[in-house]
């Protein structure tokens, strides 16, 4: 019975829950979300792929001739170790966190170095 006053007090209050897909809370500042690869900065050292605890990163080519960078989001654990070790800050984790997809292809992020200056638009590969 001890809880009755608390219950009645909350009858008139707004529910604490959110109507999620319709109401969204802003992501916290430091959230580690979807990756962004800056092709112009990358020197293709491969350190990111080497430290990745989930073996989620693949490099297309090595060194300055690097052609592309792939991260498998289904394996990725979002630890941001890749961004941390990158000597030239070419990897960035954005705050985009609603990454669920219907198949594995949809959540494989493939970045390609089309033009050296503006190649950081993610392209989702569909199977």
């Amino acid at each position: 019975m001890a809880m009755e006053p608390e219950l009645l007090k909350h009858l008139t209050k707004k529910p604490a829950t959110l109507l999620y897909p319709f109401e969204k809370r802003p992501a916290p500042k430091g959230l580690r979300g979807r990756h962004k690869w800056h092709a112009d900065k990358c020197i293709g050292c491969g350190l990111c792929a080497q430290v990745c605890p989930a073996f989620a990163i693949e490099l297309d080519g090595r060194g300055l001739e690097i052609k592309g960078w792939t991260v498998h989001l289904d394996r990725c654990v979002f630890c941001a170790q890749c961004a941390e070790v990158c000597p030239v800050n070419a990897i960035e984790l954005t705050q985009e966190h609603e990454l669920a997809g219907y198949d594995r292809g949809g959540i494989t992020l493939k970045f390609t170095k089309a033009l050296p200056t503006q190649a950081d638009e993610p392209k989702s590969e569909k199977k």
Partner: protein, 397 residues
């Protein structure tokens, strides 16, 4: 059913009272439990074997995923183990930040447990309210580390993120709100006789049994034994921070509730002390990405929210650990819970099991999901269907 009136009830591997798969084979006589036998292992993922083929930095994040609730505990204890083996000196500020994260994790784990315990006795209203107020702590975790569950805060040689002055203010404010609420819930539980009826003299573990069965953590302290790794074997900054080891001598579920509530108040005080006394300075020392740990062995103990956690590292000088042993607190409490269940009612099974705050993912650690060859291991729906059809043909008669 045999000659007696005994009857075996399986609790698990899937059961609404268990938040993670494990199995208890319960022998009952009417509504009384006569015998209980635990069989963990359903979440065995092979972490220990996997660690032997990964570098220390990779292992850091693997260790974090041993358990979702106490991710900071496993991760930081791994850092301590490796740092001790390497003889690394960690900056003071980093240790303070680690302590703050550690105690925030205790707050969120204990309040989560309190909610689950309320749910197990069918008090869903209390469960919703506690979990609502737990969000205060989750939001703090999120704003400090970036994510809610796998915080990825500590690293070998320090911590990865600093706590800014604005954040300090937010943490203080959040703690005040949370403390107020937990005070309310504690007084509520002590007033509500219907809750106490389900908790007093239920799941009794005598102090003698608790010591003999090597119980750990709040389970042990609720049996009146004053033992806490933070006080017995201080790590991080616990040799500087004043705090009390909370015990209660009821030996039952109710005293486990009280001990955890009291521990939350102590944790709040520890965090406040750390916030006040946190020195300025660097938060990490640089370590090589592919590090070699000299040939040595180290044992590190840690007081996780659920109890004593022990990590043992044996290194032979390579870039990967030679052997890494993890013992999570729940495994230490399983013999106790088997003892506690005997003599209780079927209706008390969930709350008694929940009272040790079991975390079976921590307990079961190993397998062989190797990402490179996962095809061999993960069945697609067609394989699953074929298997189930075969199984039915064999077993349906």
């Amino acid at each position: 059913m045999g000659e007696t009136e005994e009857f075996i009830i399986p609790v698990g591997p899937q059961h609404p009272a268990l938040k993670e798969p494990t199995n208890f084979t319960i022998t009952v006589d009417g509504e009384y439990v006569v015998d209980a036998k635990a069989r963990p292992g359903y979440n065995h993922r092979g972490v220990e074997k996997a660690m032997e083929s990964r570098t220390y930095i990779q292992n850091l994040y693997l260790l974090e995923r041993v358990c979702g609730i106490c991710s900071i505990c496993h991760m930081t204890n791994f850092c301590l183990t490796v740092e001790e083996a390497m003889g690394l000196e960690v900056p003071a500020r980093a240790n303070y930040i680690r302590t703050i994260m550690h105690e925030i994790e205790r707050l969120h784990s204990h309040s989560l447990w309190l909610g689950v315990a309320a749910h197990e006795i069918g008090f869903d209203t209390l469960f919703y309210y506690i979990w609502r107020d737990r969000e205060v702590i989750m939001d703090l975790t999120e704003s400090i580390s970036g994510n809610r569950v796998n915080k990825a805060m500590p690293t070998i040689g320090g911590v990865r993120r600093n706590i800014s002055p604005e954040l300090l203010r937010d943490i203080r404010k959040g703690l005040d709100i949370f403390e107020e609420r937990i005070k309310y819930y504690k007084s509520l539980i002590l007033k509500e006789t219907t809750v106490l009826n389900r908790a007093i003299r239920v799941g009794v573990l005598t102090p003698h049994d608790a010591v003999a069965l090597c119980a750990v953590g709040p389970t042990l302290r609720a049996s009146g034994i004053k033992s806490d790794v933070r006080a017995d074997d201080p790590y991080l900054v616990f040799d500087e921070v004043p705090f009390n080891v909370m015990t209660h001598d009821g030996c039952d579920v109710a005293s486990r509730v009280i001990v955890r509530c009291d521990e939350m108040f102590e944790s709040i005080n520890v965090i406040r002390y750390c916030l006040d006394h946190m020195p300025d300075g660097p938060i990490r020392v640089k370590v090589p990405v592919i590090m070699r740990v000299p040939e040595t062995e180290t044992v590190c103990l840690w007081e996780a929210p659920r109890g004593e956690l022990i990590h043992y590292l044996k290194s032979t000088g390579g870039t990967t650990p030679y052997r890494y042993k993890i013992r999570a607190p729940t495994l230490g409490n399983i013999p106790s819970v088997q003892r506690m269940l005997i003599g209780n009612y079927i209706a008390d099974i969930p709350i008694v099991i929940a009272a040790i705050d079991p975390c079976f993912s921590c307990t079961d650690r190993m397998t062989f999901v190797d990402v490179n060859t996962e095809k061999n291991w993960v069945w697609d729906s067609e394989q699953l269907r074929r298997y189930s059809r075969k199984w039915y043909q064999q077993n349906s008669h």
